[in-house]
Amino acid sequence: MLLDEGLATSTGLAIEDGLTAIVDAAVDLTRAQYGVLLLVKSSGGLEVTVARDAQRVSLPLDQVHVSYSVLELVMCSRRDVIVDETRAESSISREASAARLGLHSAVAIPVKSRARSSADKLPLIKVLGMTITERRRELLRVLYLANRMPSSSFLSLDHKVLRILTREAALVIENARLFATAREKARLDHEVEITSQIQRQLQPARFPQLPELEVTGFTVECHAVGGDCFDVIELSGGRHGLFVGDIAGKGIPASLLATLLQGVIGIIGALDLPLEEVISRVNLYLCERSAGDRYATLFYAVLDSAGRFDYVNAGHVPALIRRCSGGVETLESSNFPVGMFSHAQYTRETAEIEPATPLLCIPTASPKPETAAANFSRRRGDFNTFCRGSMARRWIASSRPSVLECGPLRKTRRNRMTSPFSPCTIVGTRQ
């Protein structure tokens, strides 16, 4: 019979089926009139989940009679409790509630998890204000078996067999939990994958082809989803808006806000307002719709065909321009990030991108504060390594940079798996 129960466990039957089979087996073994399995709720209360009679028929859960004083004893002691009016050596004297129910004998056995839980600590010793605790097994269920017949007694029970049954019950419950956890994880992974696909699809599919300039951009993913975004917005008169943004935080919350930010920039940017006005409106929009600790750094620029480059750097990592001389110019932030302060004012700066200017690079690392903290903690070498330090500067200052050389950079960065820093918009002269 135990083998049958083991089979029920391993074949992945629904948890209710597995537990019902175990209650039936327990009733058969003990010759009880009925058996009940009670769920131990997180509040400490009990709830009847399975009730079966000796004919293997389910009983109405709300009409099952159990002795709560017996159950209380099991909950407190976490040990088997037997009530038997016929024998003096029963583990406890007949309980009042058992008497009210007309029970002649009852047995209640705790169903405990197999592993000891660190969250469920039992005070062991209290000395000098300190409590030494030991980890104990989580109480999952209580198996309750009852007899109203005076001739029946549980005192001669084979406890070992009953304990094996309760261990089987614990196994069924834990397997079901693991299965539920695995299913939930698979569902979340699937949703993250869909989110990631949507994020990738939101990236510009094509870049503007200008007489003197070539624009491109790419994203290096360090996590499935993240708070980085970039876009190119076509404006009147051959001008283009270039946007790179980075939401503070990680994962799906950041990716949701990144999508929102990209959409808002796309809509407001297309109005072709002065840049500072565009960013002020974006800021106001985010302040009204996001929690106080959610914000974004962004770099938004408008580039015209003559090479005039107006930009607002809102707390973002500096863009880098490689000049003909080989020197690298940085376009630093002089503004608040967006989404922090609704009253924030933004200022626009201007730079010239002469036809001979080899390269402009607008990266996103982790948001500016985080990346600036790289050297601070010496824990990671992401942005400072890339932008201020070796990689980007070396790359951008190299003798013949072109947008086509993004490939090796991308590869290098991916291989290095540097910490979360990703999209990079590159504007370069056509070679």
Binding site: G249, T297, F341, P369, F376
Partner: protein
């Protein structure tokens, strides 16, 4: 390294010494809860000593700003003391140096509260 915060009450000014990182997760939550707790307890003058903050990420900065907003709504003032060069750089980049009052030492921050109280009197 988890964020450790110890507070000290000096003449109705609460100085919170912070040690560790203010990053996404438990640390930034703990920081928010700490400040929220102080504000709910009616503390109006708070100095954050960040000398031993070894790292702050974007979420940490967000928590700092959220605490700033929260303090203002409670009629309280939050001041920062002992900013390291990188912490200062972060606040510079995000222009938060124009928002937070910052001091070179905890004593200077505490003294500034006393001065403003004298000025009000």
């Amino acid at each position: 390294m988890p964020l450790r915060m110890t507070e000290e009450e000096l003449d109705s000014i609460t100085a919170v010494a912070m040690k560790g990182q203010i990053v996404l997760g438990e640390e930034s939550n703990a920081f928010r809860e700490k400040i929220e707790g102080l504000l709910v307890a009616g503390k109006k003058r708070i100095v954050l000593n960040v000398a031993n903050v070894t790292y702050i990420d974007a979420t940490g900065v967000g928590s700092l700003v959220a605490s700033y907003h929260s303090a203002r709504s409670h009629g309280a003032t939050l001041k920062l003391a002992n900013l390291g060069s990188k912490f200062r750089e972060i606040l510079q980049m995000t222009r938060l140096l124009t928002v937070f009052d910052t001091y070179d030492s905890e004593a200077a921050a505490i003294q500034s509260f006393a001065k403003s109280r004298r000025a009000q009197a």
